[in-house]
């Protein structure tokens, strides 16, 4: 319930031998009061180090961290008024689940009846009511994780840190608990930073996501922004399931509008795309990475559609994933609902300009997003 | 958060040096003694300055010890050979019996399995002397006393439980699925045992072999009672240096150096097997 600012924060680990390792490299983040932030990346990307620096378990090598405008770099973890849920749960084994959750409140000498009411409220939210009077070692991993989450969420803190808060969740509960958690955080205006390696979870919960890789903040933006305007190839390929279809391509400006010659693995021309759009900046013949989000592509035979063959087909109840081979390249198309398709049958794929993202062939930086030109 | 101060590091170095000295000093002293004459050794106060001599080693190898009291026949080389024969054969036999048994205990849950395994281990608990007296009588009757076979048999009390328990632990650490996969590929259980289980338990087998070899090599009391002069190992043989005319410290030291050398070399050689990890290529699960 306060702002949180990371001002050029770095973390360098000195190795016993060899060169020092930069785990977090000059990360800047300005987080508004009540905002929900996801730190997303694969293991070793620096997201957990960042979280631990905010919590005070790691020293900041350089830079500053501020909570509500107050620099907290040199405060002990206990002095920071930050609540944290640990990835390893860190529950107190000799205490019942109920007392684990209410621990901080009881320590602050709050009336027992009030603590009981609050514990039961959050236990209901996270579906751990039946486990309340049991001891942590006797409950399932999923329940332990939710207990740890409840213990953090029940506190009155300036900032809430959640380390992989829902990784152990039972699949049947996942969607509803995510939604309830989000509702809880929003209605109480809780400033929250959570760490996850699961991009689905980040997208579901966060107002903004900080995508990290090798200690560097790649992009810090809303989920929509990450999907529609990824800053570079890394972000584009990390966000989205199924992942973005990626091809090598060459820009063709020999005629008006934007032309793209898509290449197969051997560098031969696989198929061509042409859009009637005014696009500035892309030079004729430039080598680019072409990215297309699977659910922005459409199955259908309107003008400009490319012809391919069905190589895989899976219907998942509410959506259908179709694998299409086009001139030696493979691409995935996701359609809503049930779409019939037979393996080996011809199929046409429409590529709206909106589906197109172009990235620099050398450094992977974004050059062009179809959604910007289309709107 | 853990910063090491210069003082802290200094204290650590000093402490480690002290501990190292404490443990290494006797070995160092024995090594020095082996190059000294008995007179040098017995000088008071002891001195680090002396003229090194190979006399002790020479006497051990040639088998003749000339002292002021006369010429003493010693059979050190013979004893060394006995040690090698006894330790190597005992360990070999234990491996032959122990590895399949360890595999059985690790993989098959049969009735009384745990009890049998524990009984075997309990051989290590009994004081050897307690076992020895009745055993000496039996061996006398069976004609096994003062034979290599009899000694090797008794040495199983030392080596077999060690090999069984160490190797069993290693077998248990191998994912059963790896063996199941090999069976499903079309191989019988024996081939699975020899081609999968044994190669994967190699570090454990090496460790167990080394340990049981050292224990067998260092055994004293079994051989003291069950073997006569021409079958006894170096541990017992060293007693010969305690003569009526005095104790031949120099020769004792030299024989210690010579008899420790094989085990030391073996340990150094086996080290790479010992540190090699298990279950490479499988996911923790």
């Amino acid at each position: 319930m306060a702002t949180l600012t990371l001002d050029s924060v770095s973390k360098v680990y000195k190795a016993a031998r060899g060169r020092p390792v930069t785990a977090v490299d000059a990360v800047d983040m300005r987080i508004a009061d009540g905002e929900i932030i996801g730190l997303l990346g694969s293991s070793g990307c620096g997201k957990t180090s960042t979280l631990r620096m905010i919590a005070g378990f790691e020293d900041v090598t350089s830079g500053h961290i501020e909570v509500g405008g107050r620099v907290i770099d040199n405060l002990l973890p206990a002095e920071r008024n930050i609540a944290m849920a640990f990835e390893g749960y860190a529950l107190y084994p000799p205490l019942r689940v109920r007392d684990n959750i209410g621990f901080a409140l009881l320590r602050d000498r709050q009336p027992r009846a009030e603590v009981k009411r609050q514990v039961e409220e959050i236990a209901e939210l996270l579906e751990i009511v039946p486990a309340l009077d049991r001891y942590p070692p006797t409950i399932s991993a999923g329940q332990q994780q939710r207990t740890s989450l409840a213990r953090a969420l029940i506190r009155k803190a300036d900032v809430f840190l959640l380390d992989e808060p829902m990784s152990q969740l039972e699949p049947q509960l996942r969607a509803v608990l995510r939604a309830r958690l989000k509702d809880w955080l929003i209605t109480r205006r809780m400033t929250t930073v959570f760490v996850t390696h699961d991009q689905t979870e980040a997208i579901a919960l966060a107002d903004r996501i900080a995508v990290m890789e090798e200690g560097v903040l790649q992009q810090f933006a809303s989920p929509d922004e990450l999907k529609e305007r990824p800053a570079n190839l890394f972000v584009a390929s990390f966000i989205g399931e199924p992942p973005m279809n990626l091809f090598e391509a060459r820009v063709d400006r020999s005629r008006s509008g934007l032309g793209l010659a898509v290449l197969d693995a051997g560098g031969a021309r696989a198929f061509e795309l042409r859009f009637d759009a005014e696009v500035a900046g892309l030079a004729d013949g430039a080598a680019v990475h072409l990215g297309m989000r699977p659910h922005r592509l459409r199955l259908g035979d309107r003008a400009g559609a490319v012809q391919g063959t069905v190589t895989s087909h899976s219907w998942l109840g509410d959506q259908t994933h179709v694998g299409v081979e086009i001139g030696g390249t493979e691409c995935i198309v996701v359609a809503e609902g049930e779409v019939p398709a037979r393996l080996g049958a011809p199929i046409a794929v429409e590529v709206p300009l909106r589906a197109v993202h172009l990235f620099d062939a050398d450094d992977g930086r974004a050059l062009f997003h179809g959604s910007e030109a289309a709107s | 958060m853990q910063r090491q101060t210069v003082i802290g590091r200094g204290v650590r170095v000093v402490l480690l040096t002290l501990v190292g000295l404490f443990f290494l000093f006797p070995i160092f002293w024995v090594l020095l003694m082996s190059f000294q004459t008995n007179q040098d050794i017995l000088r008071i106060p002891p001195s680090l300055v002396f003229t090194p001599t190979l006399e002790n080693y020479g006497a051990l190898i040639s088998g003749r010890l000339e002292s002021t009291a006369g010429v003493l026949e010693i059979r050190f080389m013979n004893n060394l050979m006995n040690s090698v024969i006894l330790a190597v054969s005992s360990v070999a036999l234990s491996l032959l019996l122990g590895i399949p048994a360890a595999y059985a205990f690790a993989r098959f849950k049969f009735r009384l399995g745990e009890d049998i395994a524990f009984t075997l281990l309990s051989f290590r608990f009994a004081p050897p002397l307690l076992v020895l007296l009745p055993l000496a009588l039996y061996f006398q009757q069976m004609g096994l006393i003062d034979t290599y076979i009899g000694l090797i048999w008794v040495y199983q009390l030392i080596t077999l439980p060690l090999i069984l328990w160490i190797v069993r632990g290693y077998f248990e650490d191998i994912s059963e699925d790896i063996e199941h996969a090999y069976r499903l590929d079309g191989n019988g259980w024996f081939k699975t045992f020899t081609r999968i289980a044994i190669p994967l338990a190699k570090p454990g087998i090496a460790a167990a072999t080394l340990l049981s070899f050292i224990f067998a090599w260092n055994n004293f009391v079994f051989a003291l009672i069950l073997a006569s002069a021409d079958k006894q190992p170096v541990t017992v043989g060293a007693l010969a240096f305690v003569t009526a005319s005095g104790i031949q410290y120099g020769q004792i030291a030299a024989s210690i150096v010579l008899s420790v050398t094989p085990t030391l070399l073996l340990a150094l050689y086996a080290q790479r097997y010992l540190v090699e990890g298990l279950s490479l290529g499988a996911v923790k699960g």
């Binding site: 579901a204 659910h295 895989s312 | 699925d177 790896i178 996969a181 290529g281």
Partner: protein, 374 residues
């Protein structure tokens, strides 16, 4: 008789009954996915088929022969393990070659077959590596290659994608059917991911409570589950369950009254509604010009007033947490584009539900179909 036939398999460990009369028939060349919650006995079932364990009672037949107590090496069964179970001291090549060399296949033929399998699985470039030098995805493919190399009559895959990351899992989910078809083998595939079950199975066998609850094509199970427990296993988010009452050809639930196309006896019931069959309109949105018809809401839908508590976008669709007037939670999904127009916090609106999308169950959770109700 079917190619693989399991007859009333029972297996208990200590005091826990894992399988209690599980029967299943699998045709030659068919891929059947055994799917169920964790701890339902899926892996035990595979081990009984493979011969790693023996059942307490019941039979296993492969190709018309009883193999219930036959040693694994004589069964013509290949298996890929969840933890890969590669031979750590052998190269990827020798791992894959293992079933061939066990059968004494000539060296040249082994070379040819291993390279063929490895090519299909795209691991020909790492064949000389030891398992520890392989990435997780390559290990997984090597383990699959080993299971396939012997061209076994029955191929058992024990949750083979469990230990690879999300991207590789997705890739393999698309690729596997093609690989399996290339070998024309009979496949039993175990998973606890409903997406894998639906994407890979010719049929899905739902294993619960020691036996098979429902065995059918994925579409049939998804659209026509036999019980609420089966229904809840499929879909992300999972199906909504609400109580209702059948009375005189209609069913009342969530404060609305839906006509029934078939006649069912009166009484209480449970109703399952898939999140994707609930369409949500917000009061502001509808007043802003969009009509129910624009949103695909037809005549036969019924509107339930709801409060929108939270929106959690997924990858392709977004999930809405709704609360009805009586405090009941409903999950609905909508497309990503629709979701971007929804508020961050709460909102008021209506959930539109078609009578045809309701799945009816009796209070004990068994499916109610016309003429079946006791």
């Amino acid at each position: 008789m079917s190619y693989l036939s399991l007859g009333k398999l029972k297996k208990r460990f200590k005091n826990e009954v894992v399988l209690d009369g599980a029967s299943l028939d699998v045709e030659r060349g068919e891929t059947v996915v055994v799917f169920g919650p964790s701890g339902c006995g899926k892996t035990v079932l595979l081990r009984l088929i493979a011969g790693i364990n023996e059942p307490d009672s019941g039979t296993v037949h492969i190709a018309g022969q009883e193999v219930t107590y036959l040693a694994p090496e004589h069964r013509d069964v290949g298996m890929a393990f969840q933890n890969f179970a590669l031979y750590p001291h052998l190269s990827a090549f020798d791992n894959i070659a293992s079933p061939l060399s066990a059968r004494g296949v000539a060296r040249g033929e082994i070379e040819r077959r291993v390279h063929e399998v490895a090519g299909l699985l795209k691991i020909d470039h790492v064949l000389h590596h030891l398992p520890k030098a392989l990435s997780n995805g390559q290990k997984q493919r090597t383990s699959l290659g080993r299971a396939l190399a012997g061209n076994p009559g029955v191929l058992l895959l024990d949750d083979p994608l469990r230990n690879v990351d999300a991207k590789l899992r997705y890739e393999m989910r698309l690729e596997l059917p093609r690989v399996l078809k290339a070998f024309e083998t009979t496949v039993i595939y175990v998973t606890q991911d409903y997406k894998e079950a639906m994407a890979l199975g010719d049929r899905v066998a739902v294993l619960m409570g020691g036996g098979f609850r429902q065995v059918d094509r994925p579409a049939s199970i998804y659209k026509d589950p036999d019980g609420t427990d089966v229904a809840r296993l499929f879909g992300d988010p999972t199906v909504n369950l609400v109580p209702g009452t059948i009375e005189g050809g209609t069913v009342t639930a969530l404060g609305a009254r839906f006509p029934l196309a078939v006649s069912l006896a009166d009484g209480p019931c449970q109703i399952a509604i898939r999140p994707e069959s609930i369409t949500v309109t917000l009061d502001e949105a509808t007043s802003a010009g969009a009509t129910p018809v624009d949103l695909g809401i037809g005549e036969d839908t019924h509107a339930v007033p709801v409060e929108l508590d939270a929106v959690t976008p997924l990858n392709v669709r977004a999930v809405m947490l709704l609360r009805t007037a009586d405090g009941r939670e409903l999950l609905a999904t909508c497309s990503e584009d629709e979701a971007s127009r929804l508020p961050r916090g709460h909102g008021r609106g209506h959930a539109h539900i078609r009578a045809a999308d309701l799945l009816l169950f009796d209070p004990a959770g068994r499916r109610v179909r016309p003429g079946e109700r006791q």
